[in-house]
């Protein structure tokens, strides 16, 4: 089974699955806090790459922005510059990347917002704008995040000494649950 799935790109959803068990070699059943933290780390990686002008595969995004786009009021209002491609105008598209589905060992991250998914699709595929496939993880991303979280994953599977951390995590999970009804 692959550590990361292919990038799914439709007008209603742009997403990718991540198999945590394949990446870390342990079963994440009952480890909701860790799963969510890892999901967020993968999301942060995608956003960070896009904002620094990189495609999902680490190569540079097509630059510069077109002259026509640079002449638009939105471009000027956002204080953008032609040579700095960062997939950000209002921030809504990158801001809508979320954990879409969560099972014991598999996460699906992506965009399924009705306004932002078509936008993301357009950038990924180059439908009516130049193709700038910003969304997705590559093997290098996975390895780097694996290294970053390895100690935390090991600590979470130790039997003793985790009570205080678990108590805080439970409180945070409760607060997270309360944000689901908001916005």
């Amino acid at each position: 089974m692959a550590k990361i799935g292919p990038i799914k790109t439709t007008k209603s959803e742009v997403s990718q699955t991540i198999n945590l068990k394949e990446i870390f070699g342990v079963d994440f059943t009952g480890k909701e806090a860790l799963r969510k933290a890892l999901g967020q780390a993968f999301i942060d990686r995608i956003i960070s790459k896009a904002k620094s002008g990189k495609r999902f595969d680490g190569k540079p995004l097509k630059s510069p922005y077109s002259k026509e786009y640079a002449e638009s009021l939105e471009f000027k209002a956002a204080g953008k510059s032609r040579g700095k491609v960062n997939m950000t105008l209002s921030g809504d598209m990158l801001g809508s990347i979320d954990i879409l589905d969560e099972k014991a060992n598999v996460l699906k991250i992506g965009i399924d917002d009705e306004l932002e998914a078509p936008k993301a699709y357009n950038h990924q595929e180059g439908d009516t704008v130049p193709a700038r496939p910003f969304f997705g993880l590559n093997n290098k991303d996975v390895e780097e995040i694996r290294s970053e979280f390895l100690e935390d994953v090991r600590a979470a599977f130790k039997e003793r000494g985790q009570e205080k951390k678990e108590k805080i995590n439970n409180l945070i999970l409760k607060l997270l649950g309360e944000t689901d009804g908001e916005g």
């Binding site: 806090a33 860790l34 969510k36 933290a37 999901g39 967020q40 780390a41 999301i43 942060d44 009021l73 939105e74 000027k76 209002a77 956002a78 204080g79 209002s90 921030g91 809504d92 801001g95 809508s96 979320d98 979280f149 935390d152 979470a156 951390k165 805080i168 995590n169 409180l171 945070i172 999970l173 607060l175 997270l176 309360e178 944000t179 908001e182 916005g183």
Partner: protein, 176 residues
């Protein structure tokens, strides 16, 4: 989400959830993220001429104002979003650039920060008065040019959902 306290163009963004987060973990980085998002968004919308106020627009400019702006544009470096006839509280850009925030106990307070660079009024002359950016924002608000209002912010679905996402992301990062 927000319990808001409004004074002309000063605004507190508060949420009970932030107070509860504060009891569990240090929420100051969260508040800073919210402040950065809010000021960036409000600035963007105002410069487009679609401010997050009750009307979602600024009043149209009077002909004399347009003439004044055209005149001042000859001697001052204008912001890219400037157009003499565009009602977007932007000429040099310094007012909206001054939109900032401070972290308070349950959230952030939005306000206009600092002194202004006076406009050049001719090739060798400069305006006499030097109000602060907050004073200019308050004056403009009295004239109907409100950069944001409580109702404007709270009724914008995207603004609210972005704040929720910021909170969620912060909470997830705090888990391990």
């Amino acid at each position: 989400m927000a319990k808001v306290d409004i004074k002309f163009n000063r605004q507190k963004l508060q949420a009970d959830i932030i107070k509860r987060i504060d009891k569990v973990i240090d929420a100051d980085p969260l508040k800073k993220d919210i402040g950065i998002f809010a000021t960036t968004r409000l600035r963007f919308e105002a410069r487009k001429g679609t401010p997050l106020n009750d009307e979602r627009n600024f009043p149209p400019l009077k002909p004399i104002t347009i003439d004044n702006r055209e005149y001042l544009a000859r001697f001052n470096r204008t912001h890219p979003a400037f157009n003499e006839a565009r009602s977007n509280v932007t000429l040099t850009g310094q007012l909206l650039n001054a939109l900032g925030f401070q972290v308070i106990s349950r959230g952030v307070e939005l306000l206009f920060i600092g002194e202004r660079r006076p406009y050049r009024t001719g090739p060798n002359s400069v305006a006499n008065d030097t109000p602060t950016n907050q004073e200019v924002a308050d004056y403009l608000a009295e004239k109907g040019f409100r950069v944001f209002t409580k109702k404007g912010i709270e009724s914008d679905r995207k603004f609210s959902s972005n704040i929720t996402q910021i909170v969620r992301r912060f909470l997830r990062r705090s888990l391990k």
